[in-house]
């Protein structure tokens, strides 16, 4: 049996392995090789996605911090900034869904904390296999429990997100978390090391054998079968310590005790320290014997790459160390000087008196090889032939069935397990389009959403990317907020395969085009690749997290019908098509390409109408079509409606067809002229009126009604019944 070389077991290619001696002037030690393998992974180096990510516009009038720091930040007025980031925790969640999802929340919260911001909202974008699969039911239920347990305990409200179930996620579930925080402009922190001689401090939990990346491979190679207990283990989240870390670090930041600040995430101390050094053009001298350990006898390599959670790294003036320790002690947290900032540019680590690592920090962070993305264009499928889809015999039954589909039905089962109110600033709660959270102590608010159109991205990735951004923007606009910033999480299969590489490039192009049309910059992001098994690959899933600003929090609009006799009005005349729709239930046909100019105009009209106080409600027409949008607004408001849809090709397509560019709003009859005048050339079509205990829809020759009770039963029970 031939021995597989260590670098390959660590995931480095022979080419990558050959580059290292040239960068450090000698052969690496095993510990150094492991550090390279982790830092040069896609997760840390973006070696396959970097060329693609350059496509995004990352600057703008509001941008205070773009990609490159722990989180991006934008100005929201009066000296306040909002920090945002989306991150994936897909693989850990597939291994252990409760702890994987929980530590995903912990990680994204620390990213926001690292820029000095107080986290004020969380969202989760979740995708699992169909709930007919026992494994997917388990992963989904446990991931939700993990997110709730962690988020609830740290006191950051989980205000929204999205849910999707599809066979394509059966082998690779997606757990993406978004966090948003607030910080004053002058309170923002950077991760760049500054001044040689300053102390490097580790704050928070002790370091143990947590980690499921390269550390486990090295350990498996080094340990015999009888040493199972010494193997690195699944990271376990400790939200109580995270909460103390939040309170403590915000107190330290307010006292101006951090020169530089960074969280420990993937690749642990290796990543945090090398990034801090390389960003500032400095070096570090770390004494691994000083790192507080949870168990004795950890070798240097394990200490360097441990992914123990709830830890932060800070550069502190020597004169301030005692104060930092004092404040951390009050919060029952360890704070330990583990090294110093140097001017060498080298990452030096000592253990038991020996120098075990001595390499240029930038070799780890900046010198990873960058690969071109494979590209094998795929044909864009033809639109669906409507005649090939049999119309449902009973439209009312089809409507009820659609509402009872877990991809369409209420997410209440999920969001009632999350504290979405803590902080007392949640103005628009989960269950609508975007959540609205008041900025602490202000009269302004932000709207937040995460969205993706994976089936569209599979069929026509560029237009799917555009549609993804536009859906997020419509969701923001439906609250009355104007989109100001985005973060992305690009979940894809193996990009080294031509079709996937092409889809990645095309989807990013589509995202970027739509974001530019909306003048929304991308300020942070994350990439998760290789989400595939031999049996199946995920859909291209470029999740967009978007933040919008409401100048007047009290003008926030929700999806609920508010008053009987209000007019139901359709803004925009985007297409309704069954291609790749939830009614069709599969990625077949091809949705029409979004009309960017028309979409941006619709979004602008709804925002201005909300600002003018004309709207009683607004709801984006998306998954499940206009019948679903009307039903959701009716259920949320506890009052029905009676409408006639614009003439289309067939009643089922009119009712359940999807496609962007349409928003259903309601207003007092007296407000209609003002709305139409404000809309200018954007189509504004009165459909009917609010009232009654049923939703009645006339589509062509068909009139279909559903009582609110029947609709509620179908909508509310979709997920509980699928899990039962």
């Amino acid at each position: 049996m031939t021995e597989v070389p260590l670098h390959r077991r660590l995931g480095l290619t022979d080419h990558e392995n050959d580059l290292i001696p040239g960068l450090i002037g000698r052969a690496p030690t095993d510990a150094e090789l492991m550090m390279f393998s982790l830092m040069w992974s896609e997760h840390c180096s973006y070696k396959h996605s970097k060329p693609v990510l350059k496509r995004f516009t990352t600057t703008g009038a509001r941008v205070l911090q773009g990609p490159g720091e722990n989180a991006g930040a934008v100005d929201v007025g009066d000296g306040m900034a909002v920090a945002l980031k989306v991150e994936s925790h897909n693989h850990p969640s597939a291994v252990e869904p409760f702890e994987g999802a929980a530590t995903g929340v912990g990680g994204i919260v620390r990213d926001i904390l690292a820029v000095g911001a107080r986290p004020i909202a969380l969202l989760d974008s979740l995708r699992f296999g169909a709930l007919t699969s026992a494994r997917s039911r388990h992963l989904f239920a446990r991931a939700v429990k993990g997110i709730g347990t962690y988020g609830n305990c740290i006191g950051v409200p989980t205000v929204g997100g999205e849910l999707m179930f599809d066979d394509r996620y059966e082998d690779s579930c997606l757990v993406n978390a978004m966090c948003v925080g607030v910080v004053s402009h002058d309170g923002m922190l950077s991760a760049s090391a500054q001044t040689p001689g300053n102390a490097l401090m580790l704050i928070g939990n002790r370091t143990g054998r947590d980690g499921i990346g390269g550390a486990s491979i090295l350990a498996s190679a080094e340990l015999g079968d009888g040493d199972a207990d010494k193997r690195p283990s699944v990271q376990v989240g400790d939200p109580f310590t995270e909460r103390k870390l939040l309170d403590c670090c915000l107190e330290l930041a307010a006292a101006d005790l951090f020169v530089a600040f960074q969280d420990l995430g993937a690749a642990g101390l290796t990543s945090a320290a090398s990034e801090m050094a390389a960003k500032g053009g400095r070096g570090l001298d770390i004494d691994l014997d000083a790192v507080p350990l949870r168990e004795e006898g950890m070798p240097a390599a394990e200490i360097l790459v441990s992914e123990s959670q709830e830890r932060m790294l800070a550069e502190v003036l020597p004169a301030d160390v005692a104060r930092v320790v004092e404040i951390c002690t009050r919060w029952q947290l360890d704070a330990t000087v583990i090294g110093t900032i140097t001017d060498t540019g080298h990452f030096v680590a000592r253990h038991h008196g020996d120098v075990v690592v001595d390499i240029p920090a930038s070799a780890l962070t900046d010198d990873a090889p960058v690969y071109g993305v494979a590209s094998e264009p795929q044909p864009i499928p033809a639109p669906l032939d409507l005649a090939s889809v049999a119309p449902p015999a009973d439209l009312a039954a089809a409507w009820r069935g659609l509402l009872a589909n877990p991809n369409v039905g209420s997410a209440r089962w999920v969001y009632e397990q999350y504290d979405h109110l803590v902080g007392a600033n949640t103005i628009v709660r989960p269950g609508g389009d975007a959540a609205v959270v008041r900025l602490p102590g202000r009269d302004t608010a932000i709207a937040i959403t995460t969205d993706c159109q994976p089936r569209h991205c599979e069929l026509d990735p560029r237009n799917g990317g555009r549609a993804t951004v536009l859906e997020a923007a419509r969701n923001i606009a439906c609250t009355g907020a104007r989109p100001i910033a985005a973060s992305d999480c690009l979940n894809f299969a193996n990009p080294e395969k031509g079709p996937t590489g092409w889809r990645l490039t095309e989807a990013v192009e589509g995202l970027a085009e739509a974001l530019e049309a909306l003048t929304v910059p991308v300020v942070s992001g994350n990439v998760s690749l290789y989400n595939e098994s031999p049996a199946r690959a995920i859909y291209p899933t470029p999740v967009v997290g978007m933040v919008g600003l409401l100048d007047h929090a009290e003008r926030a609009v929700g999806i609920s019908f508010q008053n009987d006799a209000d007019l139901v009005v359709l803004v925009g005349d985007g297409p309704a098509r069954l291609d790749a729709s939830e009614f069709l239930g599969r990625a077949e046909g091809c949705p029409p390409p979004p009309d960017l100019d028309a979409e941006v105009a619709v979004i602008d009209v709804v925002i201005r109408a909300a600002e003018a106080g004309l709207l009683a409600s607004a709801h984006d027409v998306s998954t499940g079509g206009i019948a679903t949008a009307l039903t959701e607004s009716a259920l949320a408001g506890g009052r029905g409606c009676r409408v006639t849809l614009p003439p289309g090709r067939r009643a089922d397509e009119d009712m359940f067809g999807e496609g962007g560019g349409r928003i259903v709003v309601t207003c007092r009859p007296s407000a209609l002229p003002a709305l139409m005048e404000l809309a200018g050339l954007v189509p504004v079509t009165p459909l009917g009126t609010v009232g009654g205990a049923e939703v009645g829809i006339t589509a062509g020759a068909h009139t279909v009604t559903l009582s609110l009770d029947d609709a509620r039963d179908a909508h509310e029970s979709a997920i509980p019944r699928a899990l039962a």
Binding site: E96, E99, N205, D229, V236, D238, F240, T241, E295, Q332
Partner: protein, 78 residues
């Protein structure tokens, strides 16, 4: 039926946030520093059949313990 007692504990090396928090609190209450405080679960059940230990082990593997983060031990009443 045979009485079986299953003890589920956090695996060695796995962070035990609950044990850590309780140890800190005991210290604060004046009991001084205590080492290796870990908190687990005790599960009592009556198991049918002639292989209660094997049956209990299969239950642990299937449900009662999470082998990624927990160890278990089985005690069969004589």
């Amino acid at each position: 039926m045979t009485r079986v007692i299953v003890t589920v504990m956090p695996r060695a090396g796995v962070l035990d946030p609950q044990g850590q928090a309780v140890a800190i609190s005991l210290d604060r209450l004046g009991f001084g520093h205590v080492d290796n405080l870990r908190i687990g679960k005790r599960i009592e059940l009556d198991v049918p059949g002639d292989d209660p230990e094997g049956q209990a082990r299969r239950m642990c593997e299937a449900l009662l313990a999470n082998p990624l983060i927990e160890d278990y031990s089985i005690e069969v009443a004589s």
